[in-house]
Symmetry: C2
C-alpha cells in the first residue's frame, strides 16, 4: 500500500464487483475536485437524512458549510457519524437485456466524523476554498466575508481517512447468447455543461464577463 492510497476498511472495501473499487488519492481527488455538490448523510433520532450541499477540498480534508441555524450543521457539529458522497453520472449503459442495463458513474464515499471549525483563519480559508472550488478566480473578485457573516456560517471539516471510490466505465456487458439479438446497444454519454451566463437584472456597476468565467465556460 503506497502513501498515495487510502487504506480500505471493512466499511469502505468494495466487496461486490471489487474491480469497481478504487482507493488511490489520484482517483478520489479527481472525483472530488470535478464536482461541487455532495450528499451528506446523518441520522437524527434513528432517521437518516440525506441533504445536498456544497463542499471544498484541500489535501485530505473536505469542508462543508451552511447557516449556523441549519439542522444539518447543528447535528453534525455534535460529532456524530457522517457519510459524504459525491457522484458523477457519466452515461447510460444500454444493454441488449433489461437486466444488464447500467450507468457509467464515478462516486466517492467518505465515512467519518465532522469537526467544527472554530479558528477564524481556518474558517476564512475554508470559505475561500468553497468559492474557488466552484469557480477558480472568483474569491479575489468579490466582497469577502465580514466578521458577522463569518459568525453566521458554520464550517465543518471532515477528514479523508475512511474513503473509497467506485467507478464504472465502458460499454454494456451482455450475456453471450444476447449479443446476436437485433437490439441497439451502447452508451449514451451524459455531461453537465454550462450555458450562457445570465447577468443579474439588478446590476449597476457590473463589469463585463470576467476572464475566469469565460475560462470556466471552455
Amino acid at each position: 500500500m503506497s502513501e498515495s492510497e487510502f487504506q480500505p476498511t471493512e466499511r469502505t472495501q468494495v466487496k461486490r464487483l471489487p474491480k469497481r473499487g478504487h482507493y488511490d488519492r489520484e482517483t478520489v481527488y479527481g472525483i472530488l475536485d470535478s464536482a461541487f455538490v455532495c450528499h451528506v448523510g446523518f441520522s437524527v433520532g434513528g432517521q437518516p437524512y440525506v441533504i445536498p450541499t456544497n463542499y471544498g477540498r484541500t489535501e485530505d480534508t473536505i469542508y462543508v458549510h451552511g447557516s449556523a441555524a441549519s439542522r444539518m450543521l447543528k447535528t453534525l457539529s455534535g460529532g456524530v457519524p457522517v457519510c459524504v458522497t459525491v457522484t458523477h453520472v457519466d452515461g447510460l449503459v444500454l444493454a441488449r437485456s433489461a437486466f444488464h442495463h447500467s450507468v457509467n458513474y464515478r462516486s466517492v464515499v467518505i465515512l467519518g466524523t465532522a469537526r467544527l471549525v472554530e479558528q477564524p483563519a481556518e474558517k476564512m480559508e475554508a470559505l475561500r476554498l468553497f468559492t474557488e472550488h466552484v469557480m477558480k478566480g472568483r474569491w479575489d473578485d468579490v466582497r469577502q466575508p465580514t466578521e458577522q457573516e463569518l459568525k453566521a456560517t458554520t464550517v465543518l471539516a471532515i477528514p479523508l481517512e475512511e474513503v473509497s471510490a467506485k467507478v464504472r466505465t465502458g460499454g454494456p456487458v451482455d450475456e453471450e447468447v444476447d449479443y446476436s439479438l437485433p437490439v441497439w446497444a451502447g452508451v449514451l454519454p451524459l455531461e453537465t455543461v454550462a450555458k450562457e451566463p445570465v447577468p443579474d437584472a439588478m446590476r449597476k456597476n457590473d463589469p463585463p464577463l470576467p476572464d475566469y468565467l469565460k475560462n470556466h465556460l471552455r
Copy 2:
C-alpha cells in the same frame, strides 16, 4: 390542504428559508421524473451510508433495485428507516459577496421505510418502470428479465408519504450596499446533456439508432 399536496410533518417541513419548501405533487413528481439517480441514506451500526442508485416512480411509490447480494438492499429489506434524495443542480448563483453565493437547485427528500417487493408481477412491473424511467421506449425493445434474473434482483418500494421538495431559482440576492460594487453578478446555468451515442464495439446484429433514442437526444 388539497389532495394534490403531501402533508408536511415535523421532519419534512422546511423551516429555514420556508419559501423554498414545496409539498405539492406536481413539484415533487416533476423533480423525481426528470432525474434517474437518487442518493439513498441508511444506517448500519450507527454509521450512515449514502449510496447513489437508480429509481423509478409510479403514483406515490418509488422503486429502487439492485443485486440481492448488495449490502444496501439487504439492509433496507429489513425495514429500517431510509431517506431517498433526488437533486438537480440548475446553476451557480454568483453574488457580489462571497457570503451570498448560492446554487440554484431542485431537490426532493423522501423519508420512510422500504417494503421488499416479493410478488413477481409487481417486481417485473418495477423493472419495466426503471427501464422506461431511464429511456422511454426501451423496455419493449430489449430482452426482458428471465426468472433467474428476477430472483437475482432485489426490488424495494418506498411510499411517497413523508416528502418535501426544496427549490431555489433566480439571481443573486445581495446586501443593499453591495449592489454598487464593480463585480459581475448573475447566474451560470448548468444543464445535463446527452452527447453522441457510442455503439457497442461488440455489436453483431444491432440495428441503427432507434427512434426513442433519437427522441431522447432532442
